[in-house]
């Protein structure tokens, strides 16, 4: 094993009142792809921010190329040769590819310190060429597709002659072919002797491209090892930290009658020929990569997105929702994927958030019944065990997990018969996650029909009675609880299901 280029010892980071990182160790070696594994909220992003000089650790030691360092700004880290490709592209849409790539480290030329655009353009072109990307350096970033933007982001990180390249979930917006391109770049960097930190919670990627891994959980260092010496289950257990039964308390339920059926539901350019059925008491898992069209199908069932063709049958009757209200009237509830931007209203109290979907029923001639409102919010708020000083505090004073509970309480209070959950545990802590799983399982055992869209494989495997896998707008596979395993699901999600002949 070659020498360590970047070494973290006992790194701790406090935010007022919170330990975000607690005693982290990390050894990064040149020519190695190092996976940093952990669930959302495990502290991966905080660690990246410390490595790139955005945050300053509360205590602990960082040594880089044998010397103790402390980066005070992102630019210092960059100049030392540590560069990061961020999860969400941070680009300037109105500027060209070249301008974006050199933002922050423009090349200067001439006597009066003018920027030397010709030079930058030339280097951008050769960089894009090296990455085998067919992108014109003069194109405005807003005219590029999501994946291409991501590639430009990567090019930007590589335009600095870095020794350590951090990739924070680089594949989340990429299609399979682009992921292959990315792997090629990663291997090229590896061959050049650079150290790569690869952050992901997708096991297929980790096993494909990474050599070594370190697992974090709840801000703590859990363990490390060579990828080749471990299997998925071992790593999942390290990630989740509790037995799978505790994390996914799924009870066996007798399937009830069919409540919802989709026949060749299509929406032009988004999804096509989606057919499946859903029964009472069942949890139907929906797996797929980002952009597979799962959310869009759910939004169509909920009346928010348009349906171009196909049929929906609800309780044996044809159903065509035109607005969220139509769907709500039929006792369908949809917990959207992004609670901050689509679920909770931060400036509103918990109580008002919970009763918002039913203010029509809670008012006569437009006047609200405060008493009834209060009863409902207290009932469902306590049921979900929301931790708050009072039901009247604003939602923005709550933690992410509790906000998600508010959103769940809000929808459960409408007494749905079909509950659609879109990434229900994204970005919440492990304890809340387990609690949410427990609620969902209990509700299903009482006859609620649940559709659960999730990108987390352990969650899908642990909670679903049946799993449907989507790829590029189409259903590629359906597995029963017994048939489902990570290999099959991932193959189907990446469009390889037919190879198996299923």
């Amino acid at each position: 094993m070659s020498d360590t280029v970047l070494k973290l010892e006992n790194i701790t980071k406090f935010f007022p009142g919170i330990k975000a990182l607690d005693g982290i160790h990390l050894n990064i070696r040149p020519g190695e792809v190092h996976a940093l594994i952990g669930e959302n909220g495990a502290g991966k992003s905080t660690l990246v921010k410390i490595l790139t000089g955005v945050y300053f650790p509360t205590s602990g030691k960082i040594s880089y190329k044998g010397e103790d360092v402390s980066f005070k700004t992102a630019i210092e880290a960059q100049e030392a040769g540590i560069t990061a490709i961020h999860q969400e592209a941070s680009m300037f849409p109105e500027l060209s590819v070249t301008e974006n790539i050199y933002m922050g480290h423009h090349l200067k030329g001439g006597k009066i310190g003018a920027l030397s655009w010709r030079q930058m353009k030339k280097q951008t072109a050769s960089l894009l060429n090296r990455m085998e990307l067919d992108i014109n350096p003069d194109t405005l970033v807003k005219n590029l597709g999501v994946a291409q933007r991501h590639m430009v982001e990567i090019a930007k990180a590589l335009s600095i002659d870095a020794d350590v390249v951090i990739m924070d979930e680089p594949t989340s917006a990429l299609t399979l072919r682009e992921v292959e391109d990315l792997y090629k770049i990663v291997r090229q960097l590896k061959a050049e002797g650079k150290a790569i930190i690869f952050i992901s919670h997708k096991f297929d990627e980790i096993f494909e491209i990474c050599d070594y891994f370190t697992v974090l959980r709840d801000g703590k260092y859990i363990g490390e090892g060579r990828v080749a010496d471990h299997n998925i289950d071992e790593i999942v257990t390290m990630m989740v930290g509790r037995s799978l039964d505790q994390m996914y308390p799924k009870s066996d339920v007798e399937k009830g009658d069919e409540i919802l059926k989709l026949d060749n539901l299509s929406s032009d350019g988004v999804f096509k020929n989606i057919s499946f059925n859903l029964c009472r008491g069942e949890i139907l898992g929906f797996f797929g990569l980002v952009g597979a069209g799962r959310t869009e199908v759910m939004r169509a069932i909920f009346g928010i997105d348009k349906i171009t063709s196909g049929d929906l049958t609800l309780r044996g009757k044809r159903f065509r929702p035109h607005s969220a209200k139509d769907a709500m009237r039929q006792q369908i509830a949809y917990v959207p994927e992004d609670r901050q931007s689509q679920g909770v209203i931060l400036e509103m109290s918990i109580a008002k958030n919970i009763t918002l979907p039913q203010i029509d029923d809670l008012s006569t001639f437009g006047f609200l019944h405060s008493k009834k409102e209060k009863e409902i919010s207290v009932e469902y708020g306590s049921m979900m065990e929301i931790k708050a000083a009072s039901w009247n505090v604003d939602a923005d004073t709550l933690s992410g997990g509790n906000q998600q509970k508010v959103v769940l309480a809000k929808w459960l209070s409408t007494k749905p018969e079909i509950l659609i959950l879109d990434e229900p545990t994204k970005g919440i802590d492990v304890a809340t996650k387990a609690a949410v799983h427990k609620f969902v399982s209990d509700l299903a055992s009482k006859g609620l029909a649940v559709i659960m869209v999730s990108s987390e494989l352990p969650e899908i495997l642990g909670m679903s009675d049946r799993v449907i896998v989507m790829h590029e707008g189409e259903i590629t596979a359906e597995y029963s609880r017994d048939e489902a395993d990570s290999d099959r699901i991932i193959r189907a999600a990446t469009g390889h299901a037919w190879a198996e002949g299923s």
Binding site: G343, L356, I359
Partner: protein
Amino acid sequence: MKVAKNFKTLMQKREVTLIILIVILTAVVTFRAPGFIKINNISRILNDTSILMIVAIGQFFVILTGGIDLSVGSIIAFSGMAASMMNQYNPALPVVLVLLAGIVIGAVLGAINGVLVTFGKVPPIITTLGTMSIYRGFTFVLSRGQWVTAHEMSENYMNIPHGHFIGISNLIWSAVIVVVLTYYFSKYTRSGREVYAIGGNKTAAHFVGVSKPKVDMIIFSLSGLLCGLAGVMWTARYAAAVNETAAGFELQTVAACVLGGVSVAGGSGGIPGVVLGALFLGIINNALPVVNLSPFFQMFIQGVVVLLAMFVNTLMGKRQEKSVLKRRCS
């Protein structure tokens, strides 16, 4: 311990800060000019502030959804001019009808804003920037550039704001009624709740079936309606309907809202804050001449106060943001 904590949360409320500021300001001014807190002067301040209060409340609902209504001054001018001319040409027409007509005209102009925003999909700031000029232009067209002056108005018309009931002028009463009704609307009605929901999070509101077009129509019509009321009151109180009535008034209404703790990003704020914000501006305007400060300073001081309020807002916001961030990193 608990008392101290309660005290701290109380102090963080914009309303409390404003009341304290108002008390301090009044005390300081009274110290220089003891006549400042005489009943007469207080009633003058309230009368001066009532119109601002009424219109600022309309503005508040628009800002609450994240929009802005720049056309309020022009709606006041047009509805005031229309009502005055109605009175000028039909002095026999009962003034209650004239008042109602003014209110309806205002509501219609407001509804036009609403239609442009909802169906034309023009952002509120652009829509009302356009109608601000259009309505002002209408006013000139309607009046042919002429004024309606005191001797062309009937005694009854001019008495709309001046008449009084248990010693309090109709103008103040009208503001009180507007405050009470809109407070009730904002707190205890479905639509009121929906306004907060849209302002707080458009997408989340959409997902629970709250209709943005409906809310936009309501708030713009309401803002227009209140401007219509204000237009009649304005022209009757000053016994003149001129084409420049209430020019630049939109900025004062926004200032009252901002002072009252209404977030320009939408979703937060309340009627009490707006009332106090308007009152604070009214007291400053009234106090300047009393302490022998040139009225030329009025606009300057108003601007400084608004900027200070914004500055405080940002500081408070930053603190909040920090605490949210802190939680998110957990």
